[in-house]
Symmetry: C2
Subunit: 147 residues, 2 copies
């Protein structure tokens, strides 16, 4: 059983076949599937699994901090199981493919060659998240480097 499944069990999760399959799909490096991609891969192992269960489970994993939800373009969100190691993302503006990258030095400087994965990098954005004065404190996201 994967580390993820063990941690989930320790947190009182009921280990259903659906959750097991989703956890299996989300195993590996540079995995950044959309919900539909997760569903397609889950169906290959458990044909009757529903889209709703995939959305439910992904949402729970995000809430638990086991998976990071990434929105880069205006299309489907992607789910990154590499939640326990701070990193940034390199995104293809053509097909949406993503890679995990680690920063060294000033983020606004060029990515090191060995972190480019063959991409031609053309842009970098920095976005801060928080709560505005009207919204106040609420379901805060976890910091991954912000003070």
């Amino acid at each position: 059983m994967s580390d993820l499944l063990r941690r989930l069990r320790e947190r009182g999760w009921r280990l259903t076949a659906q959750r097991r399959v989703i956890a299996e799909v989300l195993d590996g490096e540079h995995v950044h599937f959309t919900a539909d991609e997760v569903h397609a891969r889950a169906v290959a192992r458990l044909p009757e699994i529903s889209r709703a269960s995939v959305y439910n489970t992904l949402g729970e994993l995000v809430a638990l901090g086991e998976v990071i939800e990434v929105t880069t373009d205006g299309r489907a969100k992607r789910y990154d199981p590499n939640a326990h190691q701070p990193h940034q993302h390199l995104v293809c503006s053509g097909c949406g493919a993503m890679r995990d990258v680690r920063l060294a030095g000033d983020p606004l400087r060029a990515l090191p060659e060995d972190e480019r994965f063959g991409f031609v990098v053309s842009d970098v954005t920095v976005t801060y998240y928080g709560r505005c004065p009207e919204c106040g404190a609420g379901d805060l996201r976890e910091a991954s480097g912000a003070d």
Copy 2:
């Protein structure tokens, strides 16, 4: 007439009432409306303007580099007319409100107090954009399975 409209005319744009109204809506600082918000404000001045025209015009403004399209959460894209001055964004994870911020020093360090706009900042993301080896250079958006 605004600077924006003058630049557009210089580029050969036909200055329709719809485009004029949209340009007026997109005037000011810290303006980050969604397409629907732009539409609502445009309708107040030109009741018969359609959603399609708002989407068309915003898309054209983005292609011309006069407006920046920002996707921060999984919700509607926002359109930032502050395209000629490099800056980053501060986003409320509650309501989606956005502020323009300027970096000083290491982006992963805390935002300076005077750039926080009363927000409680909890996270920062750095994302690089480019073209992956399969997509190569170019502007075409070809959907293919990511990864």
